[in-house]
Symmetry: C2
Subunit: 164 residues, 2 copies
Amino acid sequence: MSRLESFIRRMEAQRACIDFAARAGNTPQGPIFELGLGNGRTYDHLRERFPGRDIFVFERNVNAHAASMPDAEHLIVGDITETLPRAVLRFRGRVALVHSDLGSGDEARDRAFAARIAPLLAEAVAPLGLVASDQPLVIAGWQTLPLPPGIAESRYFLYRKPKA
Amino acid sequence: MSRLESFIRRMEAQRACIDFAARAGNTPQGPIFELGLGNGRTYDHLRERFPGRDIFVFERNVNAHAASMPDAEHLIVGDITETLPRAVLRFRGRVALVHSDLGSGDEARDRAFAARIAPLLAEAVAPLGLVASDQPLVIAGWQTLPLPPGIAESRYFLYRKPKA
């Protein structure tokens, strides 16, 4: 499979996971965390699917399209390993959905990073809240959800925090 | 439609156009031009779909994934408005397929750029050769092909040069 094909499938999986989260009853009330702004396309999709929600975006090097730039209050600039712990203190147990697309393509590095942020997400997320991630996350007690129809296994990962 | 949605559809259209070109009988013999390397995903797809063909890639700022880097002979570095005219002198009337994904998102700029490269492509391409482009191109006498099934109009553009 070409890298283009693989990329398209990953983007389709990402969209399907966000659209699943956006369906009525699938995500509790509360703010959304978007880890990685990039070009801002996914932030734009989250905004469209979750109108009226606070979406906080974490990014080290802000370089998004002007049409997809969060306002200053919702853009948390810095290294996620520093900014996320502070955000956890502020939002502990209240975050409805985390979308994380931070893969660098370096598998060992991505796995180490995922291991580092998983416990932070576990603290941040609300009961029954969701995490959609391009990387597998290991969080004890959380439920791994099946992917939406048409999405191949391991293209994306969906997790739900248990009820308190 | 969100920017993510729009992006996915453009990537799907790009893939469909390349796959159409790669089907037996749709593209004559000859080298391929890829205008813009970017991350190299589309170059990777072209390589996979057209094994054994010479694929020349034009890029100003080379910043591709290591897995998708053309060799020095096939990577033409520089401003396309300077490198493409030289390539036309070398390959006049022999290029089987041009894929061009150079859109900047600035519509006026993209239109001006497309107008500038269209006559160069008209000279480079072989009889019955194809151009797949993210931008509309106006080339007198060329045939605009219908897009592959499932691709909405104006997501991508496919042109065929007439028989000599």
